[in-house]
Structure formats: structure tokens, C-alpha cells
Symmetry: C2
Subunit: 205 residues, 2 copies
């Protein structure tokens, strides 16, 4: 699932330039929406000519694909941390919630994520990328929950899927809360988030 | 919080025409995004001249404001049902989840809601309307939970707020799940949604 990017003589410089474009584009998409932001604007924000940008990304779609890929890599490295941590799995996942709240209520990330999800409802290519990334996350979560040290080895497939969906809905839904409640008490959220997630990580009574 | 709409001689006909515009606009916003959809397109989809539309809505913003207002009225009528139902409150709210899942995973509603939330990250007027609607919903939920027959009369204000935020994140987050997982087992979701919401409706152990 690598976004198509062209090859360059100096890989490090090319990577730095690509990042420069991705950051500028992310800012433009947040401000104007994916549809509203043109290559001319991205080029201006990045301080690079449009022609120069086309050396790194074939299109605006290629740019948003790279942004999605970068997000996915971040998520997957989180799962790797969980997998490699030898402690009690439920404790590890509950402790990870502090970080999840920060990441999902960060204004900058939030606006861009909503924009991508919103664009995914229209743009099939973007929807496919978001779905591939989500499938991988669900699979990693599933392996944690029913794996050797998992708390839910006895649960049915359908129940496991439902638990993962509702956990992901809850965490993903935090993206919406900051838009809808600017006075959100972010740290206070954990008072309720921890018990709710714990219910979903342990066998139902 | 009434969107500004002009007065007309025949109120019923005017209402029908307004609905015609709202439906056409909702469809255009879903297909092209709020930024991408122009008045010309809305006019074509509605089968009405742009001049005729301007008799009912002063601008594209006035149209999306009316859509948000309509959604809010739907939500508030739901709260009214909960308030007027004399049964056990926790049971009533848990039973209401079936309907919540249907409404939040309906493809048509979903795409438009994400578009509005995404636009809310950029457009202050839309953000304000969404926030007013959310504040009212939180207030109604709070009154149910700590009211005379509420299950959480003994909880602190901060805890109540956290519970409501996480419940709303979970339900709102369902909007994202159908985009991210097209094979979503909608009915199966309730297996995990009911216990998670129940945890948030009853005192923590």
C-alpha cells in the first residue's frame, strides 16, 4: 500500500521536499477543504513551484494518499508498541487511552482527519485507502484480544468484531467532540473512557 | 436559533419549496462537498431557478444552517420521547440504541453529517450552530441522568460531563465506522454497544 512517488537522485533531500509538500497540503486542506484547495495554493504554501511539486506527487490525490499512509504508519507503530510490551494487556491498552485522547482531540489533526473521512464518502480511491488502513488496525486489535495473552479468547468472532467496532467508534468519535464542544474537558474524559473501554476489553457478565 | 428565512404569502407552499431546496442541496453537498457545490448546481438539482431559490434562502450558508436546524429538531424530539416515557430510564435509553445505530450508519445521513462537521472546522457560523445544537443535547441528557428518576444523581458534575461526552463520542463515532468498514455488521454492533453504554449509565463500581 505504498503511494506512487517518483524516484530521485538524493533520497534524503527528496524525502524532505515530500514532507514539505505534505505539511503545506495538510494546512491547505484544513483551511479550504480538499475540494477547495488547489495545487496553486499548495504550491504557494509550500514555497515551491507547482512544477517542482509534480516531481514528487503526480496529483492532489497522490498527496492525500501519502498523508493517509503516514497516519496509518503512526497507528501501526502504536500497535507494535502494545504487542511488544510484556505487561498485562488490559492495563497496557487502558494506559494507552491518555495518549489516544490527546491525539484525537488535537485541533490540527482533527480537522484534517474529518476532511479525509468526509472526502472518503465521495472519493473511492481515498475511501479504499482509509478502509485498508482500518482493516489492518482491526486485525491487529483482534490479534491482541484473542491472542495468547488476550482477555477475550472465549468470545465469538461476531462479539469480538462488535467490541472492536465500538472501541474504534468511541476513540474515533473523540474527533467530533472537540468540534461540537469547544469547552471539552479533555482530561476529564478519561473518568468515563477508561471504564467504558474496560467493559469492552473484559468478558461480559 | 431559527435560520433567517423570508416570509411568503402561502406558508405551506413556501415550506414545500424550502424542503425541495434543502433536499437538493443535501444531495449536492454529499456529492461534491460544501465548497464544491455551487448555487447553480443546487438550482439544477432542485429544478428551480437560482433566483427562485434566493426567495427562500439568502445564501448557501442559510441552506446548510436550515439543514443543521432540521437535524437538531429531530434529535430534540428524540429526547422528548425519552423524557415523556414513564418506564425505567436506563432501559429506555438502552432500547433507544437500536434506532441510534440505524440513524448513524445510514449512508445518506452519514455523508452529510461528516460534511457538516468537516465544514464546521473551517466555517465559524456553522461551527456555532453545531455547537448550540450539541450543548442543548448534552443539557437534555444531563437532566435525564441526574433528574428525579435519573441513575446518576450521586455523580459529580465532572463525571457526568465525561460520561455524556463518551456516550456522544461512541454514538457519533458510528458515523465514521461505515466509511471505514463497508462490511460493518450493523446489528452485531449492539452486542458491544449495549454493555458499553450501560457502563456509562450506571454508577461506576
Amino acid at each position: 500500500m505504498k503511494a506512487k512517488t517518483k524516484r530521485h537522485a538524493d533520497p534524503e533531500l527528496a524525502q524532505a521536499r515530500r514532507n514539505q509538500v505534505l505539511c503545506a497540503a495538510a494546512e491547505c486542506f484544513k483551511r479550504k477543504g480538499y475540494h477547495g484547495a488547489g495545487m496553486a495554493e499548495i504550491s504557494k504554501m509550500a514555497g515551491m513551484s507547482a512544477g517542482h511539486i509534480y516531481n514528487y506527487f503526480a496529483s492532489k490525490d497522490a498527496i492525500i494518499e501519502s498523508i493517509i499512509q503516514r497516519d496509518m504508519e503512526e497507528t501501526l507503530s502504536l500497535f507494535q508498541e502494545f504487542e511488544e510490551n510484556p505487561g498485562d494487556l488490559v492495563t497496557i491498552l487502558i494506559d494507552g487511552l491518555d495518549d489516544a485522547v490527546v491525539r484525537h482531540t488535537d485541533m490540527d489533526n482533527k480537522a484534517l482527519s474529518l476532511e479525509m473521512l468526509s472526502e472518503g464518502a465521495r472519493n473511492e480511491k481515498i475511501a479504499t485507502l482509509l478502509q485498508q488502513s482500518d482493516t489492518e488496525s482491526r486485525e491487529r486489535m483482534r490479534n491482541l484480544l484473542v491472542g495468547e495473552r488476550g482477555p477475550l479468547k472465549a468470545s465469538s468472532e461476531r462479539e469480538i468484531n462488535a467490541r472492536i467496532e465500538i472501541m474504534f467508534a468511541m476513540i474515533g468519535g473523540l474527533l467530533l467532540r472537540k468540534t461540537l464542544n469547544p469547552n471539552l474537558d479533555k482530561e476529564g474524559l478519561l473518568i468515563a473512557l477508561r471504564p467504558a473501554i474496560k467493559t469492552l476489553l473484559l468478558p461480559f457478565e
